[in-house]
């Protein structure tokens, strides 16, 4: 069985007891993302506070990988500066899209390193990234609203990036 490579205990734990799940108020921006292949969905909210990610809350309809990934995301970015959180996101994305060739840095990615196994299954990479893309989109939206624009519905075209 190679299954355990993908479904590491850490992932299954996050899947069974997701951290930070549920939609909370207040929030600065919300993003809705969808995986067009399987119909999986996430709605994710971000609240910033003086350049820091103060809260991430979300509701998912999806597989174990996408749920666990959202949970790990919450752990990794809440309390960090926006800048840091985007750096973590970049590292996570690099690993997830790295086809198993990228050795993840546990200092940066924490429990996220457990997703290294997923990177070997290209069809599941989108699952692992769904929440992260929602987070990225929501952060961009907070910036836009700061710049005066109102928070709109997500452009789901970016969901599959």
């Amino acid at each position: 069985m190679q299954l355990e490579q993908m479904y590491q205990e850490i992932i299954l734990d996050h899947y069974r007891t997701p951290h930070g799940s549920g939609l909370r108020e207040p929030f600065d921006a919300e993003s809705f993302q969808i995986n067009p292949t399987c119909g999986d969905e996430i709605t994710l909210r971000v609240r910033l506070d003086a350049g820091t990610v103060a809260d991430v809350s979300y509701e998912t309809l999806g597989c174990s990988i996408s749920q666990a990934s959202a949970s790990v995301l919450t752990d990794l970015v809440v309390g960090r500066s926006v800048e840091d959180s985007l750096r973590i996101l970049a590292a996570f994305q690099e690993m997830a899209q790295g086809r198993g060739q990228v050795t993840p840095d546990e200092d940066v990615l924490g429990d996220g390193v457990a997703f290294a196994g997923v990177a070997k299954y290209p069809a599941r990479v989108k699952c692992a990234l769904l929440g992260w893309m929602a987070f990225k989109d929501a952060v961009v939206r907070t910036e836009r609203s700061e710049g005066g624009a109102s928070s709109e519905t997500a452009d789901p075209k970016e969901a599959t990036a």
Binding site: M1, Q2, L3, M6, Y7, L12, T37, C38, G39, D40, E41, L61, G62, C63, S64, I65, Y121, R124, C127
Partner: protein, 416 residues
């Protein structure tokens, strides 16, 4: 004829391979695309090594031979579905075939003799709630472009078309329906639907993607006006599909793709077009693929489509029985075999379809997860994704057992 599946599997090189560290491949994804027997691969290769040339365009010997091979392919494929050769248009896939009819209707305004294809505000296009995106989105787009209205038959809880959910009207221009659902396996009441459509003067387009590969289909006697199917789902090559159209309709229908080989006369100021089927085959066609598809229908014809259907029926019964016996498994679609072909889609309580698929894949069992390009149907059943097993003539009862065991294993792995 009894089917010697073990022997027949020897014709399919890919079935001998292993996956995921040495597990034998259990290929249960033929509803997405089927595998090709050596006979099809050889036919295409020998065409390319001996006779390849541009068809209908050259005066040399190779061009003659290539044209003969291409037109002979058309004739054999036509015979396979009870059509005349002139009623068979080669497309790249079934999707193009449906788009062809939709765009031709959009092009009808002002095309001499094409009045019956014209469509505009007040007109209706009717589909069902279980269509593949290929038989839904082109009609949505045609409505958007022309101002026509899209309506649809609902789907019952057991996965049948709800014939009472809609009345066709004299405004209905075309009824576009699946012959067999790619998700539920349901076979639709085509005769009754066609009767209703013709009663109000509407055309009927049949999406035969999941029927022609799996059962005997005679388009002529079904009485539909158009039908489409794809080579790759019936042991043939990718890159080739068929649009069937009744001769009289094709003769009146405006072209869709335009360019070389479909013209009659071209001037800078304007052009006129060749008779069908050429009118609908612009550019150098998928020649070797048509030859390969003809080899596929020869192969299927040699087995007998009734034998293919009976074999798949047996596998479907086994799958329904086996899966139903697994706690927490819910089959989406009919659980009896009445008017039902061999796609079996299901959900497993507490385990997402993707996760079930992963466990199966790990055991060498290749199925499909997701909405199978029938997203509205999945919404209708309140699920985002299902697991789908689908069969072809090369599958065995043991492979169905491997599927059922894999689903059990998935439940165990995720502790439900």
């Amino acid at each position: 004829m009894t089917l010697d599946v073990a022997k027949l599997r020897g014709d399919f090189p890919i079935l001998a391979r292993t996956v995921r560290g040495g597990r034998p491949l259990v290929y249960l994804d033929s509803g997405a695309t089927s595998q090709r027997p050596r006979q099809v691969l050889d036919a295409e290769r020998s065409f390319l090594e001996q006779h390849n040339a541009a068809v209908h365009r050259g005066a040399h010997q190779l061009a003659e031979e290539a044209t003969d091979a291409y037109e002979s392919a058309r004739a054999r494929i036509a015979a396979f579905v009870g059509a005349d050769p002139g009623e068979v248009v080669f497309t790249k896939n079934a999707t193009e075939g449906i788009n062809l009819v939709a765009y031709a209707m959009g092009n009808a305004a002002g095309f001499p003799g094409a009045e019956r294809f014209e469509i505009g505000p007040g007109d209706e296009i009717v589909v069902t709630g279980l269509e593949h995106h290929a038989n839904l989105v082109p009609w949505q787009e045609l409505c958007r472009r022309t101002g026509a209205t899209l309506r649809w038959y609902g789907v019952t809880d057991e996965g049948r078309v709800n014939l009472g959910s809609l009345e066709l009207t004299p405004n209905t221009k075309i009824l576009a329906v699946s012959h067999q659902s790619n998700v539920l396996g349901t076979i639709l009441p085509v005769a009754e639907l066609t009767r209703r459509a013709h009663e109000v003067g509407a055309l009927v387009l049949l999406d035969a993607c999941q029927s022609v590969p799996h059962m005997p289909v005679n388009l002529g006697s079904l009485g539909v006006d158009f039908a489409v199917f794809s080579g790759h789902k019936m042991l043939g090559p990718s890159g080739v599909g068929v649009l069937y159209g009744r001769a009289e309709l094709l003769a009146a229908m405006p072209p869709f793709l335009t360019g070389g080989s479909m013209i009659e006369m071209v001037r800078m100021e304007g052009s006129t077009y060749a008779p069908p089927p050429q009118r609908f085959e612009a550019g150098v066609p998928m020649t070797s693929q048509a030859v390969g598809l003809a080899a596929a229908v020869d192969y299927l014809g040699h087995i007998g489509m009734d034998v293919v259907a009976a074999h798949e029926r047996e596998l479907t019964a086994l799958a329904i029985d086996g899966l139903s016996a697994v706690p927490g498994v819910r089959i989406v679609g009919p659980t009896d075999l009445v008017d039902r072909g061999g796609a079996v889609s299901f959900v497993v309580d507490g385990v997402h379809a993707h996760d079930v698929g992963q466990v199966l894949d790990d055991r060498g069992v290749a199925i499909r997860v997701g909405h199978h390009c029938a997203w509205p149907l999945h919404r209708r059943f309140g699920v985002a994704a299902t697991v789908r097993a689908s069969f072809h003539v090369y599958n065995t009862p043991d492979e169905v057992t491997a599927l059922v065991e894999g689903v059990q294993a998935a439940r165990e792995f995720f502790g439900v």
